[in-house]
C-alpha cells in the first residue's frame, strides 16, 4: 500500500527554495519585567527577615543527620509505606464493593467511605487508641487473647488509623479509575470468554491504573506528611523526634525547620518516583512516551543557542 505513494509524487521534481525565516522584533512585555522585579523584592525581604530573626540556624545542620532524626526518617517512611499498602488494598476492595450489584456490599462500602472520609484522621487515631472502652479484651479464640490496651500498640494504632482512613480516599480514586475504562473493554473481554475476575485483573485494572496512579502519588505525599499526626498516639517518628531534640537542646523552632526540610526532601524524592510510574502506565495510551527529565535536558542542550522566538 505504501509503495503507491511514490507513483503519485509527480509535481515535486524540483524542490522549491526553502522559505525565508521570519525576522521580526518580538513584542516587549514591560509589565512582565515590573511584576518580576516586585516579586523578587518581596522574596528578598522575606529572606532578609528570616536571616535577621532570632533563629540559631547553625542548629539545623548540627542535628540534620543526628541518629534520632535518621531513626525518625526511617519510621516516617515505614509508616507511609505500610499505611499506603493498607490504604491501597482496602481501597481496591472498597471500590469493587461500591461497584458491586449487591446492594448490601455497595451499601457497606458507601457507609465506610462516608464515615472515614467524614471524620478527621486525628480523631480516628484517638478512637482506635481508646477502643478499649468498647472492647475490653481482644479474643481470637484459640490463637490470641489479651487486653485491648496491650494489643493496641502505638504502631498498630498508627497503622490502622492512617491506613483505614486512607482506604476511604483510595476507594474513591480506584472507583473513578475503574469507571474511566470504556465499557467496550469489558464486553470485548467477556466476548473472548474471560471471566469477571480475569477481565478485572487483566483488562480493567491495568487501564484504570493510568487514572489511579497520579492521584495516588498525591496521596502518598499527603500520607508522608500526615504521619506527623501519630505523635499524638505516642508513636515516635520524624516530627516527634525533632520536637524532642528541640526541647532538650533548647532550639525548638530550629528543629521544626529541620523537620520541614526533611519532609521536603522526602516528598521531592517521591515526586520523581511518581513521574516514572506514571510514565510506565502511559504505555499504549499515547503514541510516544513522554521524555524523561534526562532526555529533556539532553534535548535542551542540543537546542541551546537556537532562536526560540517569543520572549527576548
Amino acid at each position: 500500500m505504501t509503495a503507491d505513494i511514490d507513483k503519485t509524487a509527480g509535481p515535486l521534481d524540483s524542490p522549491p527554495a526553502p522559505p525565508q525565516p521570519v525576522k521580526a522584533i518580538p513584542v516587549r512585555h514591560y509589565g512582565r519585567y515590573v511584576t518580576a522585579l516586585v516579586a523578587l523584592a518581596v522574596l528578598a525581604a522575606i529572606v532578609y527577615a528570616f536571616s535577621q530573626g532570632k533563629i540559631n540556624w547553625q542548629a539545623v545542620p548540627d542535628y540534620f543527620f543526628d541518629h534520632r532524626i535518621m531513626t525518625g526518617v526511617g519510621k516516617t517512611l515505614m509508616l507511609t509505606v505500610l499505611s499506603m499498602l493498607i490504604g491501597v488494598a482496602g481501597g481496591i476492595v472498597l471500590a469493587v464493593m461500591r461497584l458491586s450489584k449487591n446492594p448490601v456490599t455497595s451499601g457497606i462500602a458507601w457507609f465506610y467511605i462516608w464515615f472515614f472520609r467524614g471524620t478527621p484522621v486525628l480523631v480516628q487515631l484517638f478512637l482506635w487508641f481508646n477502643l478499649g472502652l468498647v472492647f475490653e479484651y481482644i479474643d481470637l479464640m484459640p490463637i490470641y487473647k489479651d487486653y485491648w490496651s496491650n494489643f493496641m500498640t502505638p504502631l498498630l494504632t498508627a497503622l490502622l488509623g492512617l491506613g483505614l482512613n486512607e482506604a476511604a480516599y483510595m476507594a474513591e480514586i480506584c472507583r473513578a479509575g475503574l469507571l474511566a475504562v470504556d465499557e467496550g473493554q469489558t464486553e470485548a473481554a467477556h466476548a473472548l470468554g474471560m471471566s469477571h475476575g480475569k477481565t478485572l485483573r487483566r483488562i480493567i485494572i491495568p487501564q484504570a491504573m493510568r487514572v489511579i496512579v497520579p492521584p495516588t502519588g498525591n496521596e502518598v505525599i499527603n500520607m508522608l506528611k500526615t504521619t506527623s499526626l501519630v505523635a499524638a498516639v505516642q508513636y515516635p517518628e520524624l516530627f516527634r523526634y525533632a520536637q524532642d531534640i528541640g526541647q532538650v537542646s533548647g532550639a525548638p523552632v530550629e528543629m521544626y525547620f529541620l523537620a520541614a526540610a526533611w519532609y521536603l526532601i522526602l516528598t521531592s524524592v517521591l515526586s520523581v518516583g511518581q513521574y516514572y510510574l506514571e510514565r510506565y502506565y502511559a504505555r499504549g495510551s499515547s503514541r510516544r512516551l513522554p521524555p524523561t527529565p534526562w532526555q529533556k535536558v539532553k534535548a535542551n542542550l542540543f537546542s541551546v543557542g537556537r532562536p526560540k522566538g517569543g520572549m527576548a
Binding site: L192, K198, P206, Q207, G284
Partner: protein
C-alpha cells in the same frame, strides 16, 4: 467460495442443526422494546447478513447471541444449545457467569469500535484469550498469534500498540484476536462503520477470506456490496422485527416490501 445453498428455506438441508436458531426473541431496555419477536436460522458455514436502519435492533440481536444482552422472551440456540440458560424438564435455569464465559469461547465477536486492549501490543491482544482462558502455553500462543496476524496482513505490526495502528489495522487485529479462540461462529457488529472509507476494503478482504474458509459468520453491516457478494442469506430488520429475508441478490435488487425498498433506495 464454499457451496452456496439455494434458498434460506432449506430446512436443515445438511441434516445437521442450524448454528443459530432464534424463536420469538424479544428484548426491551426499560420501556423501549427493541426486539419484537425475531425468528431466524443461520446454517453452519453460512455468511448471514443483517441490514437495516440504525435503531432497528440488529446490533442488539447480535449481542443477544453471545449473551452480552439477556433476552426477555423467546428462545435462542447456538449450535443446538440454549444461550444463557439451561433447560431441565420445563424449567429454565440461568447459567452461572462461568458457564456463560465457557460458551462465549466458541463465539468470536468483532465490534464497531474495535475494543482492542490499548495497554497490550497487537500480538499480546491476540494471545491474551488463548493464554488466559484456554491456558495455552505462551510460546505456542505467540506462534499462533503471529500466524493469525500474518493472515490478516499485519505480521509486521505485531509489536505495535493499538494507538499506533490505523482503524483498519486495529479492526484486523480484532478479527485475529477473535479467531485465536478458534470460534465456530463469528459475529461482526458493523465492523467497518467506524473506518475511513479507504480502509474499509482491507477489512472486507479479510472477512471475505474468512467466509471462503467456511466460517459461519453473522454480519451486521451497511456494506451492501459485501452483503451481495459474500453473503449467503440476508435479513432486513426494521423496528425490531424481520421485515424481509432471502438471498442477498434477490432482496437487494428486488425488494418486495415497501420499507425495504425505501431503505435500499437511500443506501444503495
Amino acid at each position: 467460495m464454499t457451496g452456496k445453498l439455494s434458498k434460506q428455506q432449506v430446512p436443515a438441508g445438511r441434516g445437521d442443526l442450524p448454528m443459530v436458531r432464534a424463536e420469538g426473541v424479544h428484548k426491551s431496555f426499560g420501556q423501549v422494546e427493541v426486539l419484537k419477536g425475531i425468528d431466524l436460522e443461520v446454517r453452519a458455514g453460512e455468511v448471514f447478513c443483517l441490514i437495516g436502519p440504525s435503531g432497528s435492533g440488529k446490533s442488539t440481536f447480535l449481542r443477544c447471541i453471545n449473551h452480552l444482552e439477556k433476552i426477555n422472551a423467546g428462545r435462542l440456540w447456538v449450535d443446538g444449545e440454549l444461550v444463557g440458560y439451561r433447560q431441565q424438564g420445563d424449567k429454565l435455569y440461568e447459567l452461572r457467569d462461568r458457564e456463560v464465559a465457557m460458551k462465549r469461547r466458541d463465539i468470536g465477536m468483532v465490534f464497531q469500535r474495535f475494543n482492542l486492549f490499548p495497554h497490550m501490543t497487537a500480538v499480546e491482544n491476540v494471545m491474551e484469550a488463548p493464554v488466559q482462558v484456554k491456558g495455552v502455553r505462551k510460546a505456542d500462543a505467540h506462534e499462533r498469534a503471529m500466524s493469525l496476524l500474518a493472515r490478516v496482513g499485519l505480521a509486521d505490526r505485531a509489536g505495535h500498540y493499538p494507538s499506533q495502528l490505523s482503524g483498519g489495522q486495529q479492526q484486523r487485529v480484532a478479527i485475529a484476536r477473535a479467531l485465536a479462540m478458534d470460534p465456530k461462529l463469528m459475529l461482526f457488529d458493523e465492523p467497518t462503520s467506524a473506518l475511513d472509507p479507504e480502509l474499509v476494503g482491507d477489512v472486507l478482504d479479510v472477512m471475505r477470506d474468512l467466509a471462503e474458509s467456511g466460517m459461519t459468520m453473522i454480519v451486521v453491516t451497511h456494506e451492501m456490496g459485501f452483503a451481495r457478494e459474500v453473503g449467503d442469506s440476508l435479513v432486513f430488520m426494521d423496528g425490531g422485527v424481520v421485515v424481509e429475508s432471502g438471498r442477498p441478490r434477490d432482496v437487494l435488487t428486488n425488494p418486495q416490501h415497501k420499507r425495504t425498498q425505501s431503505f435500499l433506495s437511500k443506501v444503495l
